[in-house]
């Protein structure tokens, strides 16, 4: 395997250019009691790329994502964000740094409408204080309207105009996944973490989702970290791939390199994929 993970290859699709390393994970180890979820894992993420994390069930993919957005705090290792070591932080602080995410098990606000769910993504960008809000005066109202416009743009982008006012609990699975993505997009993040955004979807829904992900990457230049089980999808849309197995990194490189990596082949054959 070449040193592809450290070189900045010219973008495969759409002439996208990768920037510098935005997030560098160094020797990350995470344990839950006796369970070693991640063992000494290092890899980096470059600006504007689509970086996939793959691996069999229980490999530690979601744990890795949770480390990046501050849900879990690794016992060992460093996270460098734009060249600076990141302090231990909670998810809402990671959000402030421009890291947004979707969830493997959809975690929408079920009681709220699609619009309201996506509106929560604008929370950090709202400036009006509690007092102004409590009195619902001019400034707060204008702010609300401005953010509503942004949310409507996202609704259009994801082609969910027809369900704008529906309570999300009542939506079919595939659409819920889309709303989940919309909420993350509303944050206008620098880094977007997607935990199996296509799980449980049919072919058509998967195609739509792929298109959205590539459009996000092209139009907004968002750095995307993607966990996905569907190999076809991964090979199609990602620029670089990290492979995990039993909490260890067994491969890292372009889709082609990973595909021909013997360890990866063994891991996948061994676990029946």
């Amino acid at each position: 395997m070449t040193n592809a993970s450290n070189a900045a290859p010219a973008a495969a699709q759409g002439g996208r250019k990768f920037g510098d390393v935005i997030l560098d994970l160094q020797n990350i180890s995470l344990r839950f009691g006796g369970v070693k979820a991640l063992t000494d894992i290092s890899f980096n993420i470059r600006e504007h790329e689509v970086r996939a994390i793959i691996g069999p069930n229980g490999a530690g993919k979601s744990s890795m994502l949770n480390v990046i957005n501050g849900v879990y705090h690794p016992q060992e290792g460093k996270i460098m964000f734009r060249g600076q070591e990141r302090k231990k932080m909670e998810p809402h602080m990671a959000a402030k740094q421009g890291i947004a995410r979707t969830f493997q098990n959809i975690a929408l606000f079920k009681g709220m409408s699609v619009l309201d769910n996506i509106m929560t993504g604008r929370n950090l960008r709202m400036k009006c204080n509690l007092f102004q809000q409590a009195l619902w005066i001019g400034a707060a109202r204008n702010e609300e309207i401005a953010h509503r416009e942004k949310v409507e743009e996202i609704v259009d982008f994801l082609e969910i105009q027809h369900i704008r006012k529906t309570a999300v609990g009542a939506l079919p699975y595939g659409l819920q996944k889309r709303v989940d993505l919309g909420r993350a997009l509303a944050m206008e993040p620098e880094i977007l973490l997607l935990d199996e955004p296509m799980a449980g979807m049919n072919v058509e829904e998967k195609q739509d989702m792929c298109r959205f992900i590539l459009d996000i990457s092209d139009q907004f230049g968002t750095t995307i970290v993607l966990i996905e089980h569907d190999m076809g999808v991964v090979m199609d849309i990602s620029d670089r791939v990290v492979v995990l197995d039993y909490g260890k990194k067994i491969g890292d490189g372009t889709p082609d390199e990973v595909r021909n990596n013997q360890d990866v082949i063994n891991a996948y054959l061994g676990s029946g994929h």
Binding site: A95, A107, F109, N123, L124, A134, A140
Partner: protein, 309 residues
Amino acid sequence: MGFFIETMLGGLMTGMLYSLVALGFVLIFKASGVFNFAQGAMVLVAALAMARFSEWSNAALGGDSLFLANVIGIIGAGIVMFAVAWTVERFVLRKLVNQEGATLLMVTLGIAYVLEGLGQTFFGSEIYSINVGMPKDPVIMFEGLIEGGVMINKEDFIAALLAAVLVGGLTVFFQKTSVGRALRAVADDHQAAQSVGIPLNKTWVIVWCVAGLVALVAGIIWGSKMGVQFSLVTVALRALPVVILGGLTSVPGAIVGGLIIGVGEKLSEVYLGPYVGGGIEIWFAYVMALIVLLFRPQGLFGEKIINRV
């Protein structure tokens, strides 16, 4: 006929206060998953603070301005309730997130005792009065419509109006503002709320402050009616069957449940009371709540409980 309507209205007016206190329970439960047994103690502490601060400032002002003294009393009590909210979040909730509901319930029982104890240590344990100038005399209304008219207690009417305004205001705040939306988000899903940048700690302080505000208003209303004394603790617990009836997670449930219990209590007291002996209004609310539970375990408006097997 006039008497029946009178009883109904009386019930609705008390019910509005129950709704208000029930709202305090529901908000905290939704946002932090805690059934706040200390709500009653919060009413007591708020009323005590209000009574004593206004008494002290009245004395300091030489008894010249009752209005100013009351304003100072309200501000003082508000600060006390904020301190309670902040302390509870900092030293209790933050450490106990994701614990079992039963653990958290026991913790709020503890908070209740601490609040009752500290409140009485700081502010005294006698009976104090709150005088915010509530009119005490009844009026006759609707004389043209119903023979003999309907007698309404002005104090109850103003109290109910105040409670209704606060309930309405809170509902709008929760539904229409972005802070309200953030609170609902936390109530729905902690993880997801944090992932969009909503900090749990701040949210909990806000929610407990709102519960403190509810407690303050309830404390002022009841305190001015029956004096500020230890029994205020139990008054708040009369909203308990309301949340059972309305569903712990439902704001409309708290409102409607409060009204139903208020009216049910009054009607049972007046029409059934003579047959079964006095005191019926105290247990009748629970009977109504239990009957609802038999048919709808999640309460009238609560979310349906689905057991996935």
